[in-house]
């Protein structure tokens, strides 16, 4: 009976155990894998390593046309592409991917490669 | 080759399994693998005090094997599953699910085997 009084007192004076969502949200860590939101199109060299390593074939890279396409609903958010990218240019966001009625495909297009400048060989007379 | 592997033939299965049960082993599972030349390797796994004993059997697909569920009741579920996924028939199972243990009615026959699927082109009228 005296345990009960202690319990009642504790329940009346302590804060609620739940958070007032959606007015207050949880703070997320930095290394949380939420969803992929795109790449930095100018830094990417279109090598295609992320295309080969993706376990669910969600990324398609076209080197000739300089495009990078991801189907976001095939992505399983494993983080392999972020780890193996040689230029570290894939962005991983922290928020969880929300549902939608049609599939979202993100297309990133880089500027075409600058043509190589021919340098003339100039001979110098000694 | 697995360690502790013993190759047996189809006539001696029931005797070997009886012997293993008398020695005090426990049934673990059965594994089926299809070889490139379309025969089937069947492994029986038993365990006692953390030591695994494997019995290996190689058969053709049309052969009908005796069921060991009268000796080990625990084998009845995995025999039904092998019958549905690979097409190997077992004779005398304690509970017979008749083709509906794991697969539904709309699935293909024996999906784990290398089937030849022929797609015919329908003429457009």
């Amino acid at each position: 009976m005296f345990d009960m009084i202690g319990n009642i007192f504790k329940n009346l004076t302590s804060k609620p155990a739940t958070r007032a969502y959606p007015f207050k949200t949880r703070k997320l860590n930095d290394n949380v894998r939420g969803h992929i939101s795109g790449i930095d199109a100018e830094a990417c060299i279109y090598c295609g390593i992320c295309d080969k390593k993706c376990p669910s074939d969600a990324i398609k890279v076209d080197k000739a046309n300089r495009t990078w396409i991801i189907e976001t609903y095939r992505c399983i958010v494993c983080g392999e592409c972020v780890t193996v990218c040689p230029k570290q240019c894939i962005n991983m966001e922290k928020e969880h991917m929300t549902s939608s009625t049609k599939q979202d495909i993100i297309v990133c297009k880089g500027s075409p490669k600058a043509p190589k400048v021919e340098t003339e060989k100039v001979s110098v007379n000694a | 080759m697995l360690s502790n592997e013993k190759i047996i033939s189809t006539e001696t299965i029931l005797n070997e399994v009886h012997q293993i049960k008398d020695d005090g082993y426990r049934f673990v599972s059965m594994t089926t693998v299809e070889n490139p030349d379309l025969t089937i390797d069947l492994y029986y796994h038993f365990d006692r005090e953390y030591q695994l004993v494997n019995l290996k059997l190689t058969i053709n697909k049309e052969f009908e094997l005796p069921s060991i569920s009268k000796i080990f009741l625990a084998a009845v579920f995995v025999e039904n599953e092998i019958q549905e996924l690979f097409g190997v028939r077992f004779d005398g199972k304690a509970i017979n699910y008749g083709g509906h243990f794991i697969l539904s009615d709309a699935d293909l026959e024996n999906p784990m085997c290398r089937n030849q699927i022929v797609i015919e082109q329908m003429e457009d009228k």
Binding site: A17, L28, N29, N31, V32, R33, P55, S56, I76, V77, C78, G79, T83 | M1, L2, R26, F27, V28, S29, T31, T32, V33, E34, Y43, H45, Y50, L52, N54, F72, L73, A74, V76, F77, V78, I95, Y97, H100, F101, I102, L103, S104, P111, M112
Partner: protein
């Protein structure tokens, strides 16, 4: 006196995953019952033959949501045995830490569902509130609450810094205190004893003959725990398997609750003994050969058979999960019980049907 057939259908509030039983009853007593599965068959073993063997780690992890890290661990151990790769010491201890965190979360989930099955909803909510602390620490160290993807062939991807190790120790200390408060209700409460004591008794010789594994076997008196064989870093940690002898549902609850304490002690010991060094050995080439690996998942003993033929794709991947081995014990326990006990009995085998059907 006629018989009625009641379908304990695939959708039921107490089941975490779909399982159908057609119960043949006479007047509140079950006469016979045969389980039927097949509602979540995805054909994962066939898909694993068509993908790269490195990409299969992510596929195998998604067989089940509750024991996902241990599936990836056993797959990596099987490929490492075929190719003969040795892993560094720090990686072995890190694998133990994440595996034990997963074991705690699985047992806490089960304890909550058991309390819900006999109607004690406030106990269910209390236990799942402690489980949220474990999910938060997994998100803080590995990036995701369930599919933590830390294991890879040759070691682990991720490391634990000193800050993160302190966070893990603080969290498990809070979970220890929560479980001490809840333990009194599970073991000594009058109504809980009425629902669990003497229900579904499985004697020791029947359990051995039907091939039961895991906490179900340990609650009937069989001393069988694969962690004593010493894979990963378990050979260097000290612990004893938790065994009870009664064989009824109360004994299974006691085994699983005491294993939560055992896991917390293992985590503390592993963090104390964590050596310095690399976490990953690189390797080249494709596997060629076959191997059988068995480890201890939260529900029991899992067996993996892998056969590879020298190309990037495997020849065969076969997994036999512990719930598949515990299903025949339902055939023994259900006949003779009353209808109100059927949900409790099905939950005591810890059914993970998506593991069973892959």
């Amino acid at each position: 006196m006629g018989k009625t057939i009641i379908p304990f259908g695939p959708q039921h509030p107490v089941l975490p995953e779909p399982l159908q039983l057609k119960l043949v009853m006479r007047d509140e007593k079950v006469i016979e019952a045969v389980p039927a599965i097949g509602y979540v068959h995805r054909g994962l073993e066939k898909l694993a033959e068509q993908k790269d063997f490195m990409k299969n780690i992510y596929l195998v992890e998604r067989v089940c949501g509750i024991c996902s890290n241990m599936h990836a661990l056993s797959y990596c151990m099987a490929i490492e045995e075929i190719m003969g790769i040795g892993i560094p010491d720090r990686a072995r201890f890190l694998r133990v830490i994440w595996a034990e965190l997963h074991r705690i979360h699985s047992h806490l989930l089960w304890l909550g569902l058991l309390a819900d099955s006999f109607g004690f909803e406030s106990l269910f909510m209390q236990v799942w509130r402690s489980r949220e602390k474990i999910m938060d620490i997994m998100e803080a160290t590995a990036g995701h609450r369930i599919f933590i993807s830390t294991n890879t062939i040759g070691g682990t991807h991720k490391d634990l810094t000193k800050e993160q190790q302190k966070d893990v120790l603080n969290t498990v200390a809070l979970v220890w205190d929560d479980m001490k408060a809840v333990e009194k209700v599970f073991f000594n409460d009058y109504t809980v004893q009425h629902r669990l004591k003497g229900v579904g008794v499985l004697p020791k010789d029947v359990a051995y003959e039907l091939g039961t594994v895991g906490p179900m076997a340990r609650a009937s008196g069989i001393i069988f725990d694969h962690r004593t064989r010493g894979y990963a870093a378990y050979g260097e940690l000290e612990f004893e398997p938790v065994v009870e002898t009664d064989g009824d549902s109360l004994a299974r609850t006691k085994v699983r609750l005491r294993e939560v304490y055992q896991s917390i002690n293992l985590i503390r010991e592993a963090i104390g003994k964590l050596p310095e060094g690399e976490i990953f050995t690189p390797f080249k080439g494709n596997p060629n050969g076959e191997a059988v690996i068995r480890i201890e998942q939260p529900r029991g003993e899992v067996m993996y058979y892998v056969r590879a033929n020298g190309t990037k794709q495997l020849d065969r991947l076969r997994l036999r999960t512990p719930t598949f081995a515990n299903l025949p014990s339902l055939l023994h326990m259900l006949p003779g019980s009353s209808l109100a006990d059927v949900p409790v009995l099905i939950l005591t085998i810890d059914p993970c049907i998506s593991c069973t059907e892959r």
